[in-house]
Assembly symmetry: C2
């Protein structure tokens, strides 16, 4: 985990990590959310609608933006204020996603950072982008 | 689950459901995301920073917007395209959230709906709001 203070972090600061999407994550997300839509549960159903397989919940992928800010950029001393996610391409179980984030704005008056986020799959395809605002909970 | 077709759904159509936030959801979200930030894991840590208890992950609450669109509005035949969430007040384990959604725009050319979302806690406090875009996967 990173521990950046507000004063230490600069525009342009960035972080990246990789995660692999698993069947177990899909099961747990269904259990948390109660979203049992067949597009996310049933490969045959999704294939009949032109997808390569059942589609990973967009919101499951979005949960890695929570990780981006809470663990990496800026890490411990923050809380998520806003997260705007644009889902561009489907994600499938087994995909390896690279999660990127970069600080694009810093407001001293409100002690907030704006972060541009992006997730890219193992083929280099951007699966989603995000505009994130975080506030600081400590120095 | 609802099964609205694109032609059946009108601006003003709305849906609502309640969910209770549990410790088990928090554990599963930590396991899915790998976000181990102490603000979400450690009550003492969060209380020292002015919160009533450890704070529920914003993204965990957001997962109920996946449920809103995938199960209720419009239900089966959709996929999430965009979700912009503004986190306004902290959510705690044990809170009972009412999730609201209302169709505010409908674009025939792209077969997309815009939905305004809101989550309100048991005290009537708005904990977050959302601007959501969904696309149709069937008629």
């Amino acid at each position: 985990m990173n521990y950046y203070n507000f004063n230490e972090i600069e525009i342009g600061e960035n972080a990246t990590f990789e995660i692999k999407i698993t069947e177990n994550q899909m099961k747990m997300f269904a259990e948390i959310s109660g979203d049992l839509n067949p597009m996310h549960m049933n490969s045959k159903y999704a294939k009949e609608r032109g997808y390569a397989d059942k589609v990973v919940y967009g919101m499951l992928a979005s949960s890695f933006y929570s990780t981006l800010v809470g663990m990496y950029l800026p890490g411990e001393k923050c809380l998520l204020h806003k997260c705007d996610v644009d889902y561009r391409n489907p994600v499938y179980v087994g995909d390896k996603l690279t999660v990127f984030g970069e600080v694009v704005d810093k407001r001293s008056a409100t002690r907030r950072l704006k972060i541009k986020g992006k997730m890219v799959d193992q083929e280099g395809k951007t699966v989603n982008t995000a505009d994130i605002t975080v506030g600081f909970t400590g120095d």
